[in-house]
């Protein structure tokens, strides 16, 4: 009896926490499609705020997408090889390099942006182009790509596979392309989703690095919060949610899938085995 009571009180508590996190999101989504937020839903639903947001801010959305995709390409090109080198090297050197790569996540974006402006602010063409923002995003997202790929590589013995391939005459680059990359795929995929999501939502660095000509979506959001009516700010936020939520859902699904596979590897007798094995075969 006491057990039941404990369960219910904990459930209610958790639901309350959930409400704390979700109610404001719903509120903001509703405000974005309400004729007049002050009078509430009874003033009627409308898409006119969203249309207005599109007219005012669509360029910020395209710039954010452009930066996110370029940032992904750069982190793939420089991050995946780095993760491979760290996984091969191992030991103290690798740990030290990893520690340095993670620094831009540990240091507040404001400080990094300030450092970049003091150092490169004088190079006008660079300062006013979107590439300036891209550099900041690459620094900030690279650790996530590297760690995500590194985690997958460290959890398997790709070295044995590589040695087998080498004994059959495969060159270094052949091995990298046909053994390392395919095996690191779950990590690359998870890292890519993370990089895109973080880049689209990045504000701390971007606010300092942007110019009036290079506004990203979160910069535009801050702008609209300060100067636009509540309905437009909400509609803009709604557009942002629509862009970012599919990415978040994909990320959760992926991590759940990886988690399940890991569990089966650790405990092959688990009751989950038949289902997932079937899926892997299919």
């Amino acid at each position: 009896m006491q057990h039941r009571w404990l369960f219910i009180s904990q459930l209610v508590f958790t639901l309350a926490v959930c409400a704390f996190l979700i109610v404001p999101v719903v509120l903001s989504a509703l405000a974005g499609v309400t004729e007049n937020f002050f009078f509430g839903l009874k003033s009627g639903l409308t898409t006119r705020w969203i249309v207005e947001v599109w007219n005012l801010y669509s360029d910020t959305m395209f710039l954010s997408l452009l930066i996110a995709i370029t940032c992904l390409v750069v982190t793939l090109i420089i991050g995946v090889p780095t993760a491979y080198v760290l996984a091969r090297q191992g030991g103290k050197t690798a740990r030290f390099i990893e520690e340095i790569i993670v620094l831009p996540v540990a240091v507040p974006g404001l400080a990094i942006a300030l450092a970049m402006i003091i150092m490169y602010g004088g190079f006008r063409d660079f300062r006013i182009s979107w590439v300036f923002i891209l550099v900041g995003h690459v620094l900030y997202t690279l650790p996530f790509m590297v760690r995500s790929v590194l985690a997958v590589l460290s959890s398997m013995n790709f070295r044995e596979l590589e040695e087998g391939a080498a004994s059959l005459g495969a060159s270094f680059w052949q091995r990298f392309r046909t053994i390392v990359i395919p095996n690191a795929k779950p990590g690359i995929l998870a890292g890519s989703l993370m990089v895109i999501t973080l880049s689209i939502g990045e504000f701390n660095l971007t606010w300092m690095l942007h110019t009036p000509m290079t506004k990203t979506l979160p910069v535009g959001l801050a702008d609209s919060y300060a100067s636009m009516r509540l309905e437009i700010a909400s509609a803009y936020t709604l557009v942002f949610f629509i862009m970012i939520i599919p990415l978040l859902v994909a990320m959760q699904m992926l991590s759940r899938e990886n988690h399940r596979i890991k569990k089966i590897k650790e405990d092959p007798q688990s009751d989950l085995t038949p289902i997932t094995l079937k899926r892997e075969k299919a």
């Binding site: 090889p81 900030y140 801050a222």
Partner: protein
């Protein structure tokens, strides 16, 4: 194979190394030098002690971050343990909803606080209907606290759940069979086992709150938290040396907190809000 590969491995890590040195290491070093280049020289780094405004802002930020960390840990431990130990329908959906605001930027969270506790906010209209007085606290320390709590809970819940999944149920079983009450099992078995995970996620939460700029930027009209002080020093007062030295100090504090977290847990760490 290993010996011959070394030059190629070096080539592979080179692009990342160049980007890092050119755009992070060198600029950060320059920032540290600029921090000492103001009229007060190196003593800019001790301005925390000499300038009351900087000192107050530091104390306010530390207190805020610390209390947010404590409350987030308490809430997440209760909910996290509950979600790991019970299986019921809708559980997965609940976990998804709880971890879903993880990637919201700080500005958006600030706006959500305004919608909830601002002048036209939900809490305002409810309190006005019930008591006749409109409760508005979005633009005060309380508003910042709510916003920081919002971005902290999903992070901390994830780490608590990961730590709780590794607990050995046999230990609790043993304690229970020896006659320990549920409360004592919690205090003497479960919480001590969770301690490293709780300290680690607490440190992450603290570092994130210390450096949070977006939420403060949207809300802090009356409150000086450290990132806002740095921002005003840089943009309004054009006091670059002072902004630089404060940034370096803030960076050291957050890095240290995250370093502690990593040594304790070895898990990945994210500080963005």
């Amino acid at each position: 194979m290993i010996q011959r590969d070394y030059p190629k491995l070096f080539v592979m890590i080179l692009p990342a190394a160049i980007v890092f040195v050119a755009f992070f290491i060198v600029p950060m070093a320059r920032l540290a030098v600029v921090g000492a280049s103001g009229e007060n020289g190196l003593s800019a780094y001790t301005s925390m002690a000499s300038k009351p405004r900087h000192f107050e802002s530091m104390v306010a930020t530390v207190l805020l971050s610390f209390s947010v960390t404590l409350v987030a840990l308490a809430i997440s431990t209760i909910s996290g343990l509950f979600l790991v130990r019970n299986r019921f329908s809708g559980r997965e959906a609940l976990v998804s909803l709880l971890t879903f605001p993880l990637a919201f930027p700080g500005v958006v969270i600030g706006f959500l606080v305004i919608l909830t506790a601002g002048r036209q906010g939900l809490i305002g209209s409810i309190t006005q209907a019930v008591t006749g007085d409109k409760l508005v606290f979005a633009y005060s320390m309380a508003g910042l606290f709510v916003g920081y709590l919002y971005f902290s809970i999903p992070r901390v819940i994830l780490t608590v759940m990961a730590a709780a999944e590794k607990l050995d149920p046999a230990l609790e079983e043993a304690a229970r069979s020896l006659g320990a009450s549920p409360w004592r099992v919690m205090r003497d078995v479960v919480l001590p086992a969770l301690k490293p995970g709780l300290i680690a996620s607490g440190a992450i939460c603290f570092a994130t709150s210390m450096g949070a700029f977006g939420t403060a930027f949207t809300l802090a009209t009356n409150v000086d938290v450290l990132p806002m002080t740095i921002y005003t020093e840089f943009t309004l007062n054009a006091n670059i040396a002072s902004a630089a030295s404060l940034s370096i100090i803030l960076g050291l504090v957050t890095w240290l907190a995250l370093f502690i977290a990593r040594t304790l847990s070895g898990s990945s760490v994210a500080a963005s809000a």
